[in-house]
Amino acid sequence: MSEYTVVGQKLPRVDAVEKVTGAAQYGADVHPAGMLYGKIVRSKHAHANIISIDTSEAEKLPGVRAIITQDDVPSGRRVFATDKVLYLGEPLAAVAATDPDIAAEAAELINIEYEVLPVVQDVMEAIKPSAPHIQGDETKDGPKRRDISAKIKELAADQDNDHAAEIQKLEAELNNYDDEIYHNISAESHTEAGDVEKGFAESDIVVEDTYVIPRVHQTYMEPHVSVASADSSGKITVWASTQGPFAIRSGIAGTLGIPLTQINVIGTTMGGGFGGRFGVIITHVPAVLLSQKAGRPVRVQMTREEEFLDGRPAPGCVIKLKTGATKDGQILARQALAFWDSGSVSGASIGSTIRVRGVYKIPNIKIDAYGVHTNKSGTAAYRAPGAPQAIFAGEAQLDDIAEQIGMDPVKFRLMNMREEGDEVPAGGSEPKVGYKETLEAVADAAGWWDREADDNQGWGVAVGDWTNGCGPGGVYVSVHEDGSARIFHGSMDITGTDTAITQIIAEILTVPYDSVTIRRGDTDSAPYSTGSGGSVVTFTMGNTAKLAAEDAHKRILELAAERLNTNEDNLELKDGAIHVITADPPKSISLGELAAYSLSTTGGPIVGKGSFARQSSTPALAAQIAKVEVDPETGRTRILKLVASQDVGFAINPMAVEGQIEGGTVQGYAWAMMEEMQYNDNGNVNPGFVDYRVPTSADLPTVESVIVEVPAPNGPYGAKGVGEPPITPTLATMSNAVKDAIGVRISELPIKPEKVVDALKNNGHGA
């Protein structure tokens, strides 16, 4: 029996009624008087020089109230392309008009003259010298060239000896690796621990493969939207559909050179984010610029097509991975060379390549990762950014080793998993973790140990690890004279976080869950809050809420001690009333009575304040097992069973946690089996839900969720972030299950029917 009464309970969400009835206000529901409709003018080519932009015809169209280009950005920060476009759909200008059709027509009337340039979309082509150069001509060295250059540098630094001959030899050797001079590199990241060459040499089995993971979109239901209104004093209000209103405020201030206090961002109810709803310039900045120029409120709302062309999806990548192990199942070395498709910007989660190390004891690792420019839009976060890609490679290869050794994939993983105190490859030592418990839980729940499979059926297992982030936050809680309480804060609700915060406050104030209400303020009114991404909200705002409730609790006891003529040590807050523990007969005062009393005395309103900075969390594991059936003739795969366990630390609301596990697992399934943004020299060719397939409920069985609770010492009640981990293993889970069914590894996702048919043919299994 739990010691808690509100946390740990499957309680309905605080926003359930407004969501179900349609009362919730989304960005597109905002319609201030006089509002204009904005439309962004986008590049019609994937790579081209801009010769000229002529807005004169559009300006003449009746109903057009403002047209902006990069010339209208006072700070000069890049909002619109000027001399060159890098991808299909890149913004070049924006218009505001009295009607969306007029705005669309005006956008078409803006005459842009292009000089079309050669295009490169494939990362392995983009790194070659023959590829068109997208941004700059700088090159970077690959792993072998880096090693040789390091040796040369080391020898040259040795003043005491003459290494001229050796250096000359090494310099000659460099020329053997001309194919390791990479072009179009946007970023690089290198990590090494131990000696991989030695590890491979000592291994009985070495497996190497190349894993290709496609670029996928977050496909949140609500497209990007913002409504901006600049008043005559220069004050700007932005209704923004975003995961982080405070980040949007500082982003707009920085981009446009406006003081923070001149900007108020009102976060509207979010129709999903998954990491993709932090962008400042996608719609918010154009809306502000248009409103400033037109002197009227302006809405800029993306279509679904625009989402695909100019959203910030998850990067695709190519990972070459090599693993060595002994024949009795000990992993000795793992080396990765990864190329992440960062599109037109830099970054693209390349640091996440380290996650190929998984949760295993691996004494020798080496990771070389590169971000590569292509003619695509930039990328951003998507639920555990970079982890599903890297973990797919790591966990798929692990199964291939287990098969070669002849070990059960679950036993092989359990044997190599780290525990508390074990060294994390290139990363310190492990705190208390629940890796083995979580894997064992899913294996037991799925019936792994006595699993059966008919012809063309297979079972797959994989695990993924992730640690939630943390950020600053502030919460106020007020206790009212009727005994109810109200929470005030500034963080965006993301799939039930407001509910978790409410449960925590109700728990500490010992009042019924439904007597506590929660309100989100805008950036003008609410205390600062970190953005709702990185699985931070329940961890950060849960801790903040706890501090606020404890602060109120303290004040309640002070006031009650005065009222009841005793000292605080004799008091207990329980069931919404303050009791004198020592009194006989019992003596108490209800919270409402106390709140009313303190309003009419010197006490004042009961207000608790929570202000929280940062604490570190501990790693969470998600472990999954799938059973599939593959039709070898058509290549279609049906998933028959999907079981997902996750170490959540402590489930503040187990129903919401199960929802997160189900949602993340389904997104992982989709990435493995069907989702893929496709490109050719013209740009993205499937910018819509006809040819960018997300699964429906008909594609999957009910996800069976298993909650494991190994508490995080710094989490509220031990809770860890739950949003991101469940997507991390599913790509590998599916690939491993398909391999078990057909005997062939599909290492290039998604596992489309055609790939299965071809793979079977190429391996002599085909009809």
């Binding site: 059709d101 669309a104 027509e105 097509e305 003739e633 058509t634 279609r636 089996m673 069907m674 496709q678 060719v685 499937n686 006809v690 040819d691 397939r693 699964p695 429906t696 008909a698 594609d699 489309k752 029917p753 055609e754 048919v757 071809d758 009809a767």
Partner: protein
């Protein structure tokens, strides 16, 4: 979408006259045209609704089991019709593959055919049913066999002002089946669609029809494969040969959905499967 004139005529003659004007589109269920207009890929000056014209929807079955389907009959009705399910199973199965239930409640079989997508889900079933397409225009009525209706992607033999009014399906085959090759279980477009129908007498095939979608610029019949089957008793070898012959009849393209080679291979596989199912239905 851009502004347009909207007409709701109550007679076919009036509708035909309006539709004969340039830059005019017909509105049946609206599940294609409305989306195209919202995306500005179609911006007609006039839209002529067929929804107020009486007598264009409904399914009737005569004593000899020949069936007529009004062009404005919604796809959901085709999917659920006892007559269609019993006598033209492949057509009912094809109808059940279109979009979602909500879409099928709006979309019409006439619209699905007149839109002339090579991947339309009702077309393979209508091909193996040997449907006749009834057409009304300013020159009066005419009838075109469904396999002569299409001339290219989005193109038909319909002349300006001509409107499809109904489909007539002669006495049915004894068994038919449709399979759509797709990735997603529901609400996907056909990578290819295959329908087969078989007439059986004493285990000899007296007639066979194979209709193929999304494997050529228009939906097609695999007539050589059909000829192979006629007059013979079914064997696994014969079904295999029919599959190969059907694949040979196609001229698919490679596109973002899959390669031409995969489409050909799947025509072979799914022709065999649909024949097998059609055969089982014919025998039962």
């Amino acid at each position: 979408m851009k502004n347009f004139e909207f007409y709701e005529p109550t007679t076919l003659a009036e509708a035909s006259q309006l539709f004969a004007q340039e830059h005019t589109q017909l509105l049946a269920g609206g599940t294609d045209i409305v989306i195209e207009m919202k995306a500005y890929t179609e911006s007609p000056q006039s839209v002529v609704s067929l929804q107020k014209i009486p007598g264009l929807s409904g399914i009737t079955c005569d004593a000899d089991n020949s069936i007529t389907i009004g062009a404005m009959t919604n796809v959901r009705e085709v999917e659920l019709s006892q007559h269609i399910q019993e006598h033209h199973t492949a057509l009912a199965e094809g109808a059940s593959e279109i979009g979602s239930v909500q879409i099928r409640n709006l979309a019409t079989v006439g619209g699905n055919i007149a839109h002339a997508s090579p991947a339309a889900d009702t077309v393979a079933g209508l091909l193996v049913a040997d449907a006749q397409v009834q057409i009304v225009g300013s020159d009066g009525e005419r009838s075109v066999p469904i396999n002569e209706l299409f001339t290219g992607p989005g193109q038909t033999v319909l002349k300006p002002g001509e409107i499809i009014t109904q489909f007539t399906l002669p006495s049915p085959a004894s068994g038919s089946h449709y399979i759509k090759h797709k990735i997603r279980e529901v609400m996907d477009l056909a990578f290819i669609g295959v329908a087969s129908s078989i007439n059986l007498e004493d285990d000899t095939i007296t007639d066979a029809k194979i209709g193929l979608a999304a494997v050529a610029p228009t939906p097609i019949r695999a007539t050589e494969a059909e000829e192979l089957l006629k007059g013979k008793s079914i064997t696994p070898e014969l079904i295999g040969q029919a599959g190969e012959a059907a694949a040979a009849a196609t001229s698919p393209i490679s596109d973002l959905r899959c390669s031409a080679e995969h489409r050909k291979e799947m025509v072979d596989v799914l022709t065999q499967r649909t024949l097998q199912y059609a055969l089982e239905r014919a025998r039962s």
